[in-house]
Subunit: 352 residues, 2 copies
């Protein structure tokens, strides 16, 4: 397996440290940061040096481990528990809207409660094992999505993707990109077309970088070129990630995904969604119930530090849209492939 930069990695025993890619410097500079204090991890999450729900969860879990290093070697259980609460409470405030952050911190705290009989030294090791388990589970989830998805990809396929559903948002290979990495590792010689993904350019900044690092051929295009690329038969499949999927399979993802799904349908190209089973919200009957966040106009009018529209221009800036299930050929999860995308098939795959 080729060596490639990992979003994060733990170094050493419970007295070790966390190394992470500083994603704020990409794509101009590749630099890793060494987080040796809980403040370092807090700052990295806060400043988006690490981003993406699964990646934030893993980073926070490791943040607890470095946070516990400040305990005296002869600290008793009370001191340990006091510090554990302090550290988890502190980390929880780094990004107060990140669900995976709380999930990971709660999991670490629960393990501590369930193993209350352990000495502080043994507990520190036990919690590191749990943080590593969180990371490994995330990596296995990505790998499973990649493995399932790669079965859908023929050799020589051109694949269009939108936004970044890559490894940088996870501890592993990502979701949509995991499929491309797996297909590429299988020797299928794919070629990826990456939408730049306005307004925040995750495709240009992150997707192209990740694919280049892994040696997967990638061509960057503007979002407006997706139709032309399909018309010219440069791509035979579209794969994107998803932020939230309703019970009927309607998939909410970065703005522009809906347009890409419609264009794919018009060109007879299969549109695939790759996402872990945790992305499904079965309480929502359909995608119509998913609220669409509107973001600041400046992302569009001054997105790259330069004013590109007149002062006070009225802007509509929805952050997400919903690709309806009927446009989705298959949803690829770590549990398997959902196809055709129906409420029944979603439930039987996700609820089991």
């Amino acid at each position: 397996m080729t060596e490639h930069p990992r979003t994060m990695r733990w170094n050493g025993n419970p007295d070790g440290w966390l190394t992470m890619i500083d994603q704020t410097l990409l794509p101009v500079q590749f630099k890793e940061i060494e987080c040796k204090t809980v403040e370092d991890v807090w700052e990295a999450i806060k400043m988006l040096r690490v981003r993406g729900a699964p990646a934030i969860g893993c980073a926070a879990a490791y943040g607890v481990i470095v946070g516990l290093q400040t305990l005296e070697s002869n600290a008793d259980r009370d001191a340990f528990n006091y510090r554990l609460n302090e550290v988890t409470g502190y980390l929880a405030e780094s990004r107060p809207t990140a669900v995976n952050l709380f999930w990971a911190l709660d999991r670490i705290k629960r393990v501590a409660q369930e193993n209350a009989e352990l000495s502080p030294v043994k507990m520190h090791q036990r919690l590191l094992d749990e943080a590593k388990a969180i990371e490994i589970e995330d990596r296995e989830m990505c790998a499973a999505i990649g493995r399932h998805g790669a079965t859908l990809i023929d050799p020589g396929t051109g694949i269009l993707t939108h936004c970044n559903a890559g490894g940088l948002a996870t501890a592993g290979d990502g979701t949509a990109l995991a499929i491309m990495f797996a297909a590429s590792a299988d020797g299928k010689e794919i070629h990826v077309y990456a939408d730049e993904t306005r307004p925040l350019l995750q495709g240009a900044r992150l997707t192209t970088w990740e694919l280049q690092q892994r040696g997967v051929p990638v061509t960057l295009i503007c979002d407006s070129m997706a139709g032309q690329v399909m018309k010219e038969k440069r791509v035979q499949a579209v794969i994107t990630g998803a932020d939230r999927i309703a019970a009927n399979g309607d998939a909410c993802n970065k703005i522009g995904t809906y347009s890409v799904a419609v264009l794919a349908k018009a060109h007879g190209i299969p549109f695939y969604v790759a996402a872990p089973s945790t992305t499904f919200d079965l309480s929502l009957e359909s995608g119509d119930l998913i609220p669409i966040e509107e973001r600041l106009p400046e992302e569009i009018t001054a997105g790259m530090g330069k004013q590109t529209a007149p002062e006070n221009t009225e802007v509509y800036n929805p952050a997400f849209d919903v690709a309806p299930a009927e446009l989705i050929e298959a949803i690829i999860t770590e549990k398997g492939i959902i196809s055709p995308v129906t409420t029944e098939n979603v439930r039987s795959m996700i609820e089991e």
Copy 2:
């Protein structure tokens, strides 16, 4: 009629000067430049202070007039003709690929030849009249497109447009935007959604500015949001310009137009093209024969002065695409409306 900035205007008699909007400063700053020498006009064309085929033609014609002002008051016909050749030759080199530039300069020279009996002073006046005629014809062409197109627009219509088919590229109201100005002047209370139009952002920079100047409500979106805006029923019509139209009605226009046309079809929204009859190239049977220019990767990877993709990223940057006739509800020319868009209907409108 409301006062609004004009792309260009001539001031005074043959000893006057040409005022033009410096389009390189838009949308951040509105500033007019006063061209009092042929060098001023040459520089304005060269540096894209004035751009768009019809606008360049008009500017060049007026450039001849200021160029002739350097003649002594007692100059004879030979001196006049010598200077006329000098000035037209000089202006022709300002943008060597601009067809309208040569067309306008040739027209001025032909008028001089046809009126060889005039004294230099009278000839100077005659050529100014011709430059004004070129401008007036352009303004009338825009007005006629606006008038015809407005008949297709119902009150309260939301209209999506892509790129800038506006007045800034002409001496008048433009093509697609002329229809919006005309509909608005008719009191139809339209609302325009302008695609920002990556990579060069003509929609964000120019279309929003023009509509704001004329008091037409406009909302700026990213190109990737067009599908969502259609899905939300915010628009009931799409109107774009065209750079070249084949005999069967296939219309070549700024990259992204094809995607918008496909999306409009999928949503049951009429897609209109507005263009003067001079845009048609009846020697081309279909749009497949229109060559698509590829432009520099830096437009995408460093479009707004900031590096947004890794070094040496492979880029595909087609400048144009072709909306096939079957996706076009109607083509609106100064001569009238072509609908349905068929080879027969194109020929009978354009050749007559």
